[in-house]
Structures are given as C-alpha cells and as structure tokens.
Subunit: 428 residues, 2 copies
C-alpha cells in the first residue's frame, strides 16, 4: 500500500499555517518546518518593541497550534536549500522529501544593498528584534538621564524611524507617546518634552497603500503626538551617531528601520529568477512554473491579477493564498477538479497611530479617529490565537489606556553573563 | 545652607527597595543604583524558565516603582568599587558621593570554585538566565523529536537539576509537569513518559531549612510527579553531555544549577574580610564595623542573633533589614535616638512542588497539599507589584490550572541576527 502523499510547508507564518489547516481533512502527511518554534502575530510586534506587550502575548508554539491536527507534524529547523529534481528540502546535513512543497517563508527587512546599516538601524521581524529594539529605546532614555552635556543628551533623546508604512507610523506614534506620557514622570534630570521622534519617508506620503485623504489624517495625527514627519526624504547613510539624509544630517542615538522588505531566499533555493524584492513570479494557481508540486504563498510570491500591481506583502494575502494552496493540494490528491485561479478578496486595511487615532479603509467605508481606533483594537484582539492571549492583551491595553503606563519596560541584555561567546553549549 | 545628606542605595532588590521606601519622609536625597532597570520578583523566576509566565509579569521598572518618591532618583549603572575614605561609589569612569551607603546588591549563583561548569549548568538569578534556561529546556524536546537514535534521544529527554533548595525543588517539579502534561500531546515521535527529571542534592534531605517531616512530604510529592530524587549525591563535574556525580555518570543534555549562592563582591569593594559565601559580617545595626555610614542588607550581609545560625538569604530577611536600615538612617539624620538592634521576625516559609502540592511552615502551623498550594499562590500574587501584574499572573495560573498548558513556550535566541558580535552599536 502506498502511503499518503507528503506535503512539506516551509514557514509557519500566516500563509504556512493557513495552508496546513486547509489540509486538515486531506489524505496527506504534512510536515511544517520553521526555524522558530512559534507562530508570531507580526502586526503587533511593534508593541513588544515599545514595551506595551510581552513576546508570549503575541506568539504561540507551532506544535501547540497544530496539536489536534493529527496529519501534521512540526520540525524546528532551518532550510538551507531545495532539490526540486529529487523533491527534497535540504536542512543542513539532513533533508526531507516532499510530494508537494508550500514555500511560505515570508520576508525580512531590507537595507537596499546597505547591510552595513543593520547594526545601527535594527529592523523588526522577529521577537528577538523587538526585545533588542525595546532595549535600545529604553537605554537611550537611561543614557540621556545619566549624561551631563546638552549635546549628548539631545542625541539620546532623538529617535529616527525610517519608513512611513504601517510599521513606521505605528512605531513613531507609540514612541512619541512613550516619551511624553509613559516615561515623563520617571526621570529627574531630563525634560521629556524635548524628546524628538522623527519619521522619515522617501516617498511623497505616509501609508501609500491607503487613500490619500487618510495619509493626510495620519500626518496630522502624528504631528499632534509630537512626531516630526518628513516625507520625500531618503536616507543616504546610517552610523552609530545618527543618519544622513538627502535633506541633511540628523544626530540620533536610536534609529529604527521600517523601510523595506526583501523576500526570504526562495529564488536562490529553487534556482529561479526573482524580482528586485526577491519575489518569485507564480502561476495563477500559485505554483512555480516548471517545477512539479511547488507553490509559493505570501511575501515571497509575486502575483498579480491581470495587469494590476502585484499583491502586497500583508497578512490577509498570505492567509488567503495559504488556504488556496492547501485546497489545491487537497483536490489534486483526491483527484477532484482543479479550483479556479487564485483571486485575492480585499477586505480592507487598518493602521493605528496612537491613543484614539487610527485609520480604517474598507474601500467605500473609511474611518478615522476614536471609532477607527476601537475597531483596530477589536479586530486585532479577535485575530489573536487562544482565549488566553486575548485576555492578556485586552487587560494590558485597558491598563495602558487608563494609566498611560507601559507594562513591559524591561531592559534585558542579549546574552546571559554566564554564557560567554564561544563557551556556549547550546544543543541547537 | 547645607543640602540634605545623600544616601546611595546599591541594588533595587527586596532589600534596597525597602530601604529606599523607609526613607520616603526623611530629609535626605536618595540615589538608587542598579545594573538592571527593573526590580525582579525572584521567587517566581523559575516560572519564566519553565514557560509559565513572561518576564514582564514579575519585573517592574525601578523608576516606575519610585516615581512618586520625590526624594529618590534612579541610576542604571554597574558598581565597580567603593572608596570609603572619600565616601564615593565608583561606577567605571564616574563616581557618586554618599553620606550614607546601603549595600543591597544581593547574591549570584556559585559553582563552588568550578566556574567552568557555568556554560553547561546555567543558574537562575536574572531574567536573561530564565529565558536562556527556557530556551535550553524547550530546545532539548525539539532535538529529541528530531534525532533518530535512541541513545541521543534519551540524553535530550534527561534533565538534571542540581540542588534541593526551594528553587531546585520548584524547577524539578515544574519541569516534570511540563514534560508529562503540557508538552505530551505536541510531539509525534517521542514518548514524553520516558522523559526523566533528576534532582540531585548533596545533603541528606530536600529543603533543609524546613522541618524534616515537610522534607519527606516534598520527596514523596516529587516522586509522584515522576521526579527521580537523589539525596546525598554530590556533583563532581559538568560538561556538555551531562554530569559526573559521586554515585556515577548521568548523561543529560540539560543541566540546571540551583545549588549554591555567593554574595555580590561587597567585601572586595570595601576591602574587608568575608566568609566563604562572600558575606560581610555586620554589626547589630547592620553597619560595617570601622566604616562610617556603610550598611549591608540582604544576601551579602552576615548577621546572626547571638549564637544562632546566620540569617538565610531569603526575601523576608532582605526586606526587614532594608526597612530597618532606612529607619536607622532617617533617625540619624533627624537626630532621634538610635533604634534597637536589628531583630528578624520570622513569619514562616513556603515552597511549591507542583499542581496542588506545596509546603507551608509557619512555625507551629504546618500545611501540605492543596491548601498549602492555594496559600502559596495567594501569597505570591499578593506580593507582586501593581494590580496589572496580579491580574496577569492570576489569569495565566488559572489558565495553566484548567488546561495544563504553558503560555510562554518561546524559544528565542540570545542575539538578534542583525546584531552580530563585534558589530554592535549599543549605547551602554
């Protein structure tokens, strides 16, 4: 008797999980491979970076999520390549065979060819990035409190966010609130009304995927929070002391990178062409032309409806593509007719700026202000996994709302004192 | 006009915070120095290491705690020495003057002269230790699931806890529950009933500070949870593959050190003698004989009532000593008569083993079992700082109790990928 076909899903983000779940009833064996042990709710990662939430509030063990799906198993491992000829996923010194392969490995931040900026302008993709950024933001205030000369102090109290997309807007708004509200009473020597948060966007407006009227609202809401919004200003350099821009130098001890993303190296793994952002063009069923049984979903897929712009790298696209590919594979295995081509159903977009300020774009319906803000909160709590996380996040948001406080203001070093570099005995 | 006397408090643990708070109404300027930005509720740190709670649930910014105490300020810095002659605390390339000095810098884990064991057997003192241990425990299960040969697998499924004090008992009980209850359904290839948790204690019984009858209960309760308790077994070596003991070799990928503590280097800072555990003998008012205005409280102080055993390094001792020294300094500043010598009021001790199993020793009143366990939980929630933390911890404990689940099962690396060693631009 032939055993059931094997589906390997690389990446347990929104796309990979949706694909796996869509295969729940199918006669397949699913192997989910991820280099992390957890699925991360990335849209709220900036709240970890700004000390509002704890990592475990927005991340869940992949094994736990798939516990009851008996045809799925999970492997924590890092993909190093793919051998499409022999249908194997390479994982360093081992490999796993597949009949169907779903690549849902997402994207990481991109410095547009300037990787040397990375240490000075960290980006936000994984939990460890968020706790690292949290440490740098909070340390800047500690350093400002400790130094005596005004020039150094102002450098520590200047925060630059590069990139005016949703992450950049949310980071800038939250950081300004952090400085002006949450921390203001805790320091004795510095006046936090002198803290500057500067949001740099190379394009002509913020949140370019939203209608122009909403971009204007966002700019005004950020200005009301004290954020210095500069559009049309490209960054030309980053170092430990600040950034160089087309409009001049900004001295700042803390720079956050929210400017660009680059697909995970699926193109290199498959040895196929990619666009400038590293995405691989997929067919109308999201398969990779010329490779049998290989699909790409989410941020690493380049897909457009007809002559429209390619679909953006957002959670709803990844989820719908994942579910679609799961269904395609299920129908191929059971011999049912092939479903219609993938079609993205856009149900709108939301972004928050700060306390009682957000934008919601449901196509014809658009909201701003406190109603949009509540809607944003409710939608995000709804999308969290498990009742436990919903309770924890709701309580912490309510707490922050009532007290202006941040509950997770921890500065933790990257490495425990005992585990010195080179002396590590980690199993991994 | 002469300004108010300056009190420098080193360490914002239980002792340092109590001293600071006791100085609230006094005509002094208090400077609290800590190398961390947060006060940590150490008694629950093992719950972070075993994925039950998040770090921010049991740690609070020192600045936030002291926000309303206008005569106190906080400096995040590491003490490198003390100059008692000129009354200055040295902080690397800067220093702070004091009129009164309260040393409340606590203790760290000690390997009894075998610091080379540290990378293989991490101890539990700070948040970063807890997240590091959490990662190693969870990674061991991942590795066991991924390997194919039985010998390696068993090594990954063997966990050794060294030291049968409260931390060791709590770690061992919780780890056994983690393996047998929380994780059992999440793996497809390993049988977690074969996981072994071994608790090694060099002395003749567990929890030696408790009455002997309670030690016997604890041993039985741990055995019921599947923990292999070995008393009278000293560790003679630790390496990446396991531990050597007087009773033979144990192959284990994960070893947790809960065996001994060593005072922070107050003796070296002050250039005074210390006992074997690094503690400095203090006078009956907790001052250091021969040094004007210098006090030691908590784990670094060696203090005994008459000919009794020295007071143990536990939170209630540190709190009472801190409050006492705060009062002593306040009375010296205001010219009031000196209070009576310090006298520790022992209000009992509690320790938990696992679900519905704990021991409480209130002197004549002793409890075990579910009542002790509920009492333990209520007392610990009561001692947390802020309503927010109490709510979050209560919800997570209730959740774990009802579902047998652990909410914070995150494996996070020590260092973000972008911030490579040597390329860091941290402000600190």
């Amino acid at each position: 008797m032939k055993s059931s076909p094997r589906v390997v899903v690389v990446g347990a983000g929104f796309g990979g999980l949706a694909a796996t779940r869509a295969l729940k009833g199918a006669n397949v064996r699913v192997l989910v491979i991820d280099k992390q042990n957890h699925h991360l709710f990335q849209p709220l990662l900036y709240q970890v970076a700004t000390a509002a939430l704890s990592p475990a509030d927005i991340a869940w063990p992949i094994r736990r999520i798939l516990r009851r799906q008996q045809n799925a198993e999970v492997l924590m491992a890092e993909v190093t390549g793919i051998d499409p000829l022999n249908k194997r996923v390479l994982l360093g010194d081992r490999s796993e065979e597949y009949d169907y392969l779903v690549l849902a490995s997402g994207a990481t931040h991109s410095y547009f060819g300037h990787d040397e900026w990375a240490p000075y302008a960290p980006g936000l993709k994984e939990i460890v990035d968020a706790t690292h950024i949290r440490r740098r933001i909070l340390m800047a205030f500690e350093c400002a409190e400790a130094v005596n000369d005004a020039v150094h102090r102002q450098k520590f109290l200047t925060f630059v966010v590069v990139g005016g997309g949703p992450t950049g807007v949310e980071m800038a708004g939250t950081m300004s609130e952090l400085a002006r509200k949450a921390l203001a009473a805790d320091f004795r020597h510095i006046d936090l009304s002198t803290a500057r948060v500067i949001l740099l966007e190379a394009g002509s407006r913020l949140l370019s995927s939203f209608p122009e009227s909403l971009s204007e609202y966002v700019r005004q809401a950020l200005a009301d929070l004290g954020v210095d919004v500069q559009t049309g200003v490209a960054v030309t350099g980053c170092d430990a002391e600040g950034v160089d821009t087309a409009a001049g130098r900004i001295d700042a001890a803390t720079v956050i990178w929210a400017a660009g993303v680059e697909a995970s190296p699926v193109a290199r793994w498959l040895d196929v062409p990619a666009d400038r952002a590293g995405r691989v063009a997929v067919a109308e069923d999201l398969s990779v032309p010329g490779l049998d049984g290989v699909y790409i979903v989410g941020d690493a897929a380049l897909y457009r409806h007809g002559t429209e712009k390619p679909l953006p790298g957002v959670a709803p696209v990844a989820k719908q593509q994942g579910a679609y590919v799961g269904a395609i594979i299920a129908s191929r295995v059971s011999g049912e007719p092939k479903p219609a081509p993938f079609r993205y159903k856009d149900s709108g977009q939301l972004a928050t700026i700060g306390r009682r300020a957000a934008v919601v774009d449901f196509g014809r319906l658009r909201f701003t202000g406190w109603f949009a803000w509540w809607l944003w909160g409710i939608v995000h709590i709804y999308f969290l996994i498990s009742v436990r996380s919903r309770l924890l996040v709701a309580i912490q948001w309510l707490w922050s709302y009532l007290t202006f406080d941040r509950g997770a203001r921890l500065i933790t070093p990257d490495r425990p004192p005992a585990a010195k570099p080179g002396a590590s005995s980690d199993h991994a």
